[in-house]
Amino acid sequence: MQKVNRLKPFFENVVFEREDNHMIVNFGPQHPSSHGQLRLILELDGEKVSKATPDIGYLHRGMEKMAENMIYNEFLPTTDRMDYIAASANNYGFALAVETLIGLEVPRRAKVIRMMILELNRISSHLFWLATHALDVGAMTIFLYAFREREYTLDLIEDYCGARLTHSSVRIGGVPLDLPQGWIAGLNKFINHLPLDIGDYEGLLDQNRIWKMRLEDVGVVTPEQAQSWGCSGPMLRGSGIAWDIRKEEPYELYNEVEFDVPVSTTCDSYGRYKLHMEEMRQSIRILKQLIPMYEQTSPEIIAHAPSYVSAPKEQIMTQNYSLMQHFVLVTQGMRPPVGEVYVATESPKGELGFYINSQGDPYPYRLKLRTPSFFHTAFLQELLVGEYLADVVAIIGNANIVFGEIDR
């Protein structure tokens, strides 16, 4: 005979033979930490996750389908919408893939400007990550601080290209504009102050008991898991594998600047937090080296390749033949050579790869996007098992998933 109380009622014909603490929780898509589209079907044993099934929603934008039905230049601003936190990284990844496809060498000044924008974008992406992650975990102050500094990076990017969210600040073959007057001074001011701000964040969080309890030993990613699940970026380096594409397969001028690749050996969320902070410092270091490099370059900002890239604007406005070529490139699009490339770049979230199969038409025959968040979300089904429900929030926030990248 069972003991009867309010929580365990007694029914004449029903015998409760086992403690049934299993429950299925649909975590999201409305949960504020599910970042918009993620629905996690969690099977809970008490408060412990025994099975997790990530289910991605229906954004249904069909990026790859659009890419295969747009000329290359048309698709470039569309890539902004993938990882909208770091739009330039996507623009750049696509531009670099097309340049590799047609074998184009970009002028040195364009390379420097691209790297500046990319690193600024990395800082703004990491700041955004810190802010939203801290908010998920329950730290409001840090959110306000990090967003303030993120605004400054966006101001700089806006001064350069006029947009704050969807930058489209890179062109196939170079960059559209030179840096405006006084931009370098603004950048200098910003990067001289940012280390102090990062110090403030760390002062608030590093020894914060709540922050440490919520993050330490939570979401441990072993190197084997990271390799098998195709993790990249901070998720990979957070598991102790020093692999940064900028360092290992340098593109642009990353082999000319000095920077370190931070690695976390604790493999947990706290380690990844420290890693993001260090990466921002390294980005500042790169930016500091880029400023003198910019001044030594000659003013060309776009490659001279008439069959693929339009001439600079003043030439189009003054020379008839440039105008004709420009007209053909805009209306019909360029026709790259037949072949295929896979180009990977290190976006703030990890390895962003563009696979292009070209059949010589203005439209790519197949364009496959490899986005880091896609593989990180898939990984959740293994990462979350054995964690507690409250930690799920911290882990999702820590994984830095952006859904524009997943449901392409």
Binding site: G62, E64, K65, I241, E249, G339, G353, Y355, K368, F379
Partner: protein, 266 residues
Amino acid sequence: MMRSYSDKQNVQKKPYFSDRYFVAPQIPKDVVESDEIFTNDLSVLKAKFEIKEAYIQRGQLVVYIDPKDNVAVLKTLRDELSYNFLSEHSAIDWLAKSGEFEIFYQLLSTSKRKRLRVKCFIKEKEVLKSVSSLYASANWAEREMYDMFGVIISGHPYMKRLLMPDDWFDHPLRKTYPLHGDEVAQWYEIDKIFGKEYRDIIGPEERDSARIDVNDTYRFAHLNHEVPFGAEPSQEKTFTDYQEEGGVFIVKKLKKEDAKIVKERY
């Protein structure tokens, strides 16, 4: 008059003009012997499997294999040749040309700093073995490939559509799939939410996301002709000037009629 011919096998966008005499250049394919590490990798593979073609393109080794060997080849590459990452895996649709899918596995070796692409061709209904037991990252990549192309995978732990609903008809990334969705797609949401009997009442789904209807008072407001939500559209001018009862301290009432509109700048 003859009806103009349209290729139903490939309904994707095509250039409206092509120069008959234009021959697209090829990206050069280098011989594998030009790279030491790749030469070694290829010889290990050749000793065990049938390699149909191998070359280096833009610094990456491309290897064509028999689709039946895919798991064994990837196992060798992972365990013996230390290609520890499967960074991407998907298909290319050649159904119109040869009735085949081209499958590619994009691999990365962090110790050798090399990228390699394993490729194979399979027929439309042919079954491909899953490699998700070797590389967990193939788990979702294969689900996505099935969803988008209809490539059939065997041995996958949870083969379910990833991006599209479970009952979606057809596979959107095929070249035969129309850009604005097929016949079935336009009724999908109406059937699902209201039921088939409401097709006549509601009509097919509006697939032009940029379409604006002036007379649609549910979704759009016609400026200066505003009416309540869902009411009949009206041609009568509405005046929306607003002023607090009794006025606001300092703020003067703004009369739009009194405002002067500059016709020309400068």
